[in-house]
């Protein structure tokens, strides 16, 4: 479950400098999130599709990953068309959907998918560890970066412990149902995970002390910008700038 399928690959996007990817993804997300014009949003979506294509990600998996956000979007579709005031457009029973409402919901749908497509293409194509190192290079607070590393490192260990406990329950005939026995059992499971993690924290701390730990953490990371990275960065920045200009000057 906690694997990074998309990080494996050797496309143009995979080889981009992770710092470039983060910067581009950040600016793109911000510009699109605040945009409202359809020209801008549609171009953004087109751009999103392009980047995912460039990253040559498996389509089925890609669509699967778009499901979570779109559940929320569908939820919104049940409301917005009816609650935004404006010209009546269609009706379902006593409810009247407005033209403006439908446009608003469409706008949100496009925005969401465009942003997440770019997120998947640029960020999920990078291993999480590389991203952590890139964040460090981009001067993210050190404490946060290290917290991120440790959390990520031990998610796997603790997840394995969790699966082990779950299997131990299963082989003893446990079936989750809606009852107190089930909730109590899950509470014990969570409690046990926390207790074990605490002990592990103690042991890891000891191991670090034995290796001379005095509160200072290090990261080894060296990225070097290649020409293609610089060119892509400039190109992408221009495109994002273009989107911004399109949004605020209302030309075209």
């Amino acid at each position: 479950m906690i694997d990074e399928q998309f990080a494996i690959g050797n496309s143009f996007v995979h080889r981009l400098d992770p710092r470039v990817k983060i910067v581009v993804m950040f600016l793109f997300s911000v510009v699109v999130a605040v945009s409202t014009r359809f020209v801008v949003l549609l171009s953004a979506l087109a751009l999103g599709v392009c980047v995912t294509w460039l990253a040559s990600l498996p389509t089925k998996e890609l669509l699967r990953r778009l499901v979570p956000i779109n559940i929320f979007i569908i939820f919104i579709w049940f409301f917005l068309p009816f609650t935004v005031e404006g010209k009546p457009y269609f009706s379902v029973g006593p409810l009247v959907g407005t033209h403006e409402g439908v446009l608003y919901a469409t706008q949100i749908t496009i925005k969401s998918n465009a942003i997440v497509a770019v997120l998947i293409a640029l960020v999920s194509s990078t291993s999480i560890l590389t991203l952590g190192h890139a964040m460090h290079e981009l001067r993210a607070p050190k404490k946060i970066v290290h917290l991120f590393f440790f959390t990520y490192r031990y998610i796997h260990v603790i997840h394995r412990e969790y699966v082990r406990l779950l299997n131990a329950m299963k082989i003893r005939g446990f079936r989750p149902r809606t009852n107190m026995h089930t909730y109590k059992t899950f509470a014990y499971l969570v409690g046990m995970l926390l207790v074990k993690s605490c002990d592990r924290a103690q042991r890891v701390h000891n191991a670090m002390l034995c290796r001379g730990f005095r509160g200072k953490l290090y990261s080894l990371s060296e990225f070097s910008l290649r020409t293609t990275d610089v060119i892509s960065l400039i190109l992408m920045l221009l495109v994002i700038l273009g989107l911004g200009i399109l949004e605020w000057t209302k030309i075209a």
Binding site: N167, I171, V195
Partner: protein, 250 residues
């Protein structure tokens, strides 16, 4: 059920963890009522995987599993399997999740639909039979490694299974606890499959040994009696092959 009826019958089982080389590769296994089988093999040869397949914790990609004469495939088929086959995990000492020993041992019987009182009675009986009487209210988390292992065994035995699968039950145990485990295994009249890296343990507790290598088992029945003679220092310490060889005084 007659003595030698087939309990576990695996045919051409294949399994691979995602993105890995196959862990089990067209594996066949016949296990009969009354058998005490040992299983040995290098790290990563698929021993644990095999036991997980039998318990239905992972599903094979191909092949056929028959247990107690019936074909098992779905999760609900395996529910029955798990009542009749008890499984002691490789890391048995971290499979306890309840605050107290009694709660942990009653967990299985309760899931099988026993009442609280029945479950407690079973738990007490099981604990006693393993020499753990008086452990009921101990906090599982605070037990020592060896005690945890024995309590884990109790949690499994409380389900009153007909067969036991034991995945390296003796790792990390000292000789005393290991000996106690061996005594328990010898005294119960379960059929079992015992995985271990310790050949002496296997020789002592099992009737025949399967050798697992890269996802398949070869059972070698021509156990050739042979003689070693050796000499070593530290003769004063009790040491494992002294205990494990019934005919050492020959």
């Amino acid at each position: 059920m007659d003595k030698n009826s087939l309990i576990i019958n695996l045919e051409d089982i294949c399994f691979a963890y995602p993105g890995r080389a196959p862990s089990l590769d067209k594996l066949n296994l016949q296990f009969h009522q009354g058998d005490r089988m040992g299983l040995i093999g290098p790290n990563g040869s698929g021993k644990t995987t095999l036991l997980h397949i039998i318990m239905g914790l992972i599903k094979p990609s191909s092949g056929r599993i028959e247990i107690f004469g019936g074909h098992v495939e779905q999760e609900k088929d395996f529910r029955m399997v798990r009542q009749k086959i008890g499984f002691l995990f490789q890391d048995a000492d971290d499979q306890l999740f309840s605050p107290t020993v009694l709660e942990d041992v009653t967990f299985g019987p309760l899931n099988l639909g026993k009442s609280q009182d029945e479950a407690k009675a079973i738990a007490r009986r099981t604990l006693e039979s393993l020499g753990l009487a008086g452990f009921e209210d101990r906090i599982t988390y605070k037990l020592s490694g060896g005690e945890k292992r024995l309590v884990s065994l109790a949690t499994v035995m409380a389900m009153e299974p007909e067969v036991l699968l034991l995945d390296e039950p003796s790792t990390g145990l000292d000789e005393t606890t290991e000996k106690r485990l061996v005594e328990i295994l010898k005294s119960v009249d379960f059929s079992y499959i015992l995985v271990s890296h310790n050949i002496d343990l296997l020789i002592e507790t099992t009737d025949y040994i399967g050798y697992m290598i890269s996802g398949d088992i070869s059972v070698d029945d021509d156990s050739i009696p042979h003689t070693h003679r050796h000499m070593h220092k530290h003769g004063k310490y009790a040491h494992k092959h002294d205990l494990s060889l019934p005919d050492k005084k020959s």
